[in-house]
């Protein structure tokens, strides 16, 4: 076994992936974090105070983790869900009662979404109470607010997709609120959002595309900026 491991770590493939040996000095340990794709999200040096669990409560990391859970379960749900008026509700019911582990994945996605909204909100409160929004980090607070809004919009657009009574009237009410924007602008936003005057086939497809592509991609973009700035400011 030992001989095999030694042979493995000496192989061309291994050495092309890990281009250095075990980090044995402080310098090489720092470099291991520096040059690793996954670890490079962390700064190479953090203050002892900021890794104290009760300072951050790990809420930012939990939000990011939930986002990954939601992307993975969401991608799997997309395999059985078709965004059409004829099929959407039945596909959702099939996921619950016919597809193996469908109920589990759907519930993971559903509860994960609820949890994400709650955790993102708690994260925002933590940042507020520890005063971490103050200069020079004030722009990252703005990016965070954008991410918060995207989380809410993701939650809201996902709400229509089961195409049940709750979904239908929830979206009817929400888009009618948009209509309250004055000077006819509200009517136009609502019309473009729904692709019509009432919630129907067009609205379902539009919300599906927003939910599965446009909003997640924007979230990833803003998350990139958010994490980059956290790292530059010496956060965890």
């Amino acid at each position: 076994m030992r001989a095999f491991l030694k042979e493995l770590t000496r192989s061309q493939v291994w050495r092309s992936i890990f281009r250095h040996g075990l980090p044995l000095s402080n310098r090489t340990r720092a470099e291991a974090v520096f040059y690793n794709f996954f670890l490079h999200l962390h700064p190479t040096k953090v203050r002892k105070r900021s890794i104290k669990y009760t300072y951050t409560w790990g809420l930012g990391g939990l939000s990011a983790g939930l986002f990954i859970v939601l992307v993975l379960t969401g991608a799997l749900l997309m395999l059985y869900y078709r965004p059409s008026v004829q099929q959407a509700y039945n596909d959702m019911k099939d996921l619950q009662f016919v597809v193996s582990s469908g109920q589990f994945l759907r519930n993971m996605h559903r509860w994960g979404a609820h949890a994400m909204v709650a955790i993102v909100f708690l994260h925002m409160m933590r940042v507020f109470y520890t005063g971490s929004y103050r200069p020079p980090k004030e722009f990252n607070w703005v990016v965070g607010v954008v991410l918060f809004v995207i989380s809410i919009l993701l939650s809201y657009t996902g709400y229509l997709l089961p195409w049940d009574q709750l979904a239908y009237w929830g979206i009817s009410v929400g888009t009618n609120m948009v209509r309250a924007v004055p000077f006819g602008i509200g009517e136009n936003i609502s019309f473009v959002l729904l692709g019509g005057h009432a919630v129907g086939e067009n609205a379902l497809v539009r919300f599906y595309v927003l939910h599965c592509f446009i909003l997640p991609v924007s979230a990833v973009l803003f998350m990139g900026i958010h994490f980059w700035r956290v790292r530059k400011d010496g956060g965890v």
């Binding site: 009237w169 009817s172 009410v173 473009v192 019509g196 005057h197 009432a198 129907g200 086939e201 067009n202």
Partner: protein, 159 residues
Amino acid sequence: MDDSHELKSSFSRRHFLELIGLGAIGVTAAGSIVLSGEYLSPNVVKEAPMRFKIGSPETFPPGSVTLDKDHKVFIVRAKEGYFYALSAVCTHLGCIANWKADDGIVACPCHGSKFDREGRVIDGPAPRPLQRFSMSLDDLGQLVVDRSVVVGEETVLKV
């Protein structure tokens, strides 16, 4: 000396080409924003028509309130025999209200708004009475409702 000063202050070829380049980018960007906006706003929507037939007057007994779900309209026939068409779309946030025959009211399931059979608000958050749409008879004596024409509260169709 004079020549170089003149070159600096004059409208140079480089500046001219820069302006053309930036102008082209600006025109393209503006055009793509306008075209994207137009693309997002559908030109044809397959929704129930605004003007539609609902049948002959005899099919509605006097004193009845009938909901046409497809067109979101109540066809009301008063005891005296005249007709009017009330929008079933709640004026609060757009849910479809239902006729409650037992109580003789129109009630919205979403936030509890209540209207009388004339469409006036009795209770709940609705800010305005239900809209009343134009009704008429066509050449064959069929009732026609036009949702694109909103009429006053006193307007009725006598048959």
